[in-house]
């Protein structure tokens, strides 16, 4: 399976551990990611409040490159905002003749044109529908030993266009947590907004959301995310969230946890880059969940597992 990989700006900046772990895990699962040549920013959630046309033209530029130069491969985006902006072009521009014409007029300034034939996929969509939890289970070498994992889905992979999961009660990460030998920690706020870019202009509003989400997930050993902004908001502001009544919970990317369970080491998936993954937290999780069985035990249980 081949995909046109759209890392997005965050994954080249503060969320590099998401990029590294996504590439490693997808390679082990037999997916070839080919980075889109000369890709540019999708506009995130900042374009629409500034320019309606650029909100569509920025992501459309990348789809046009895939359509023209990459034989129309499916685009794989690990970031929720990138995914939604790219998807919006197909849902809101293609099919609206006037808007489609205007967006192509902007693209023409760079010698590009988008017909509307590239399929946009989120990482989780590909994991669920193209790979499947069964394949993942076969690759697991270091099971999570019942570690309680709270899946946090955030907003934009579910809404406003539900493609691969139930937006009111998402479950698409659960089979993967179980495949890794973890225990799913269900919580009501798994699809509640983290505050997104309000953390910049009105942090008091976003912190309140983060505190509520962390409190709801507080019984878990860790939260897993599939979005760089969810990850940043949930882990970087935990000190402020504590002042607002929230509790601390370690947060990491789903792909980092998958990598660890597939036998990659902490350096491979850049676990040290996570703001909540201090050495003490890592030891704590290791003691509770990633307890490596003594060498003798492994032989005894091999027969049972096999």
């Amino acid at each position: 399976m081949k995909y046109a990989y759209y890392p997005g700006c965050s994954l080249t900046e503060s969320a590099c551990e998401f990029d590294v772990s996504t590439r490693l895990v997808m390679e082990r699962l037999g997916c070839e990611l080919i980075e889109i040549p000369d890709w540019t920013c999708c506009g995130a959630s900042a374009a629409e409040p500034v320019s309606r046309l650029m909100n569509y033209a920025l992501p459309a530029r990348n789809l046009a490159i895939v359509e023209q130069e990459m034989d129309g491969l499916d685009v794989l985006a690990p970031c929720s905002a990138c995914y939604l902006n790219l998807l919006k072009v197909n849902r809101e521009v293609v099919g609206d003749r006037r808007l489609h014409g205007r967006v192509n007029e902007v693209l023409a300034a760079s010698g590009l044109h988008y017909r509307g034939e590239v399929r946009v996929r989120h990482l989780l969509d590909v994991l669920k529908n193209d790979v499947g939890a069964k394949i993942v289970e076969q690759k697991i070498t270091d099971g999570l030993q019942g570690m309680k994992v709270a899946p946090y889905y955030g907003c934009q992979i579910l809404r406003p266009y539900p493609v691969f999961d139930e937006p009111g009660r998402p479950v698409s990460m659960e089979p993967f947590i179980e495949a890794m030998g973890g225990e799913v920690y269900r919580f009501d706020m798994s699809n509640r907004c983290c505050g997104a870019s309000l953390m910049m202009g009105h942090p008091e509003v976003a912190i309140r959301s983060v505190a509520e989400i962390l409190n709801d997930a507080a019984g878990a050993d860790a939260i897993v995310t599939v979005c760089p902004l969810c990850q940043m908001n949930l882990e970087a502001y935990q000190a402020k969230a504590r002042k607002a009544g929230g509790q601390s919970v370690p947060v990491l990317y789903l792909t980092q946890l998958l990598g660890l369970a597939m036998g990659l080491d902490e350096k491979d998936v850049q676990l040290a880059a996570n703001l909540t993954m201090t050495p003490a937290v890592r030891r704590g999780i290791a003691d509770r969940a990633w307890a490596v069985p003594a060498p003798g035990d492994e032989d005894e249980t091999a027969g049972l597992n096999g």
Binding site: E13, D38, T40, M54, R102, C155, R159, P160, R192, V205
Partner: protein
């Protein structure tokens, strides 16, 4: 109530009227059920509920709308859009209100728009967003000397984690022609 009476509530400039017309089309079919307000995670920070906001757009109450901070509190989570029984693109309407306030350009709008504007300036300059240069632009645009200080502790932690990259040339001017074309087409300077 006829059109002439509504106009007298909020005499609007031509540029405003364009955005307002788009917004009226977006929320014109709102039946005031309030599902949007009940779905909003940031309702507590708003001075006018989303439901009332759509009504004010239908009536063209531009000055009252622009006084409100409601739309600046939208974090684009799309819960209202998902749940709207009329299928209206309400999150896009909130973004439209941000654009409308930006065109108007009051002091509070400039402050609230600062992050989005800084982000887009950085995209135009580098093709991809570079977090350090984008934050510098944001700090300058916000004109709030306390703002950089509030991000200092996080910045130091991120440097320690190797998450801070020095800004470079990026992809250079690759997006400038598209930005220029869109400005020309949207009539924004």
């Amino acid at each position: 109530m006829n059109g002439a009476v509504r106009e007298t509530w909020s005499p609007a400039s031509e540029a405003d009227q364009m955005v307002l017309k788009e917004l009226r089309e977006t929320v014109g079919a709102c039946m005031q059920c309030g599902t949007c307000t009940a779905s909003c995670p940031n309702w507590h920070a708003m001075d006018i509920t989303p439901r009332a906001m759509w009504r004010m757009i239908q009536f063209g109450m531009l000055d009252r709308i622009l006084e409100s901070k409601t739309f600046w509190m939208c974090s684009a989570c799309y819960m209202c859009t998902l749940r709207c029984p009329r299928g209206l693109k309400l999150t896009s309407a909130m973004a439209g209100l941000k654009r409308l306030a930006g065109v108007e350009g009051s002091r509070s709008a400039r402050r609230n728009q600062a992050f989005y504007a800084a982000f887009m300036d950085d995209v135009e300059a580098h093709g991809r967003v570079q977090e350090t240069s984008m934050m510098q632009r944001y700090f300058i645009k916000s004109r709030d000397p306390m703002l950089p200080l509030s991000f200092l502790p996080l910045g130091v932690r991120m440097i320690g984690k190797g998450k801070v990259h020095l800004p470079g040339k990026g992809r250079g001017d690759v997006l400038r022609p598209m930005f220029a074309k869109a400005r020309e087409m949207e009539g924004l300077s």
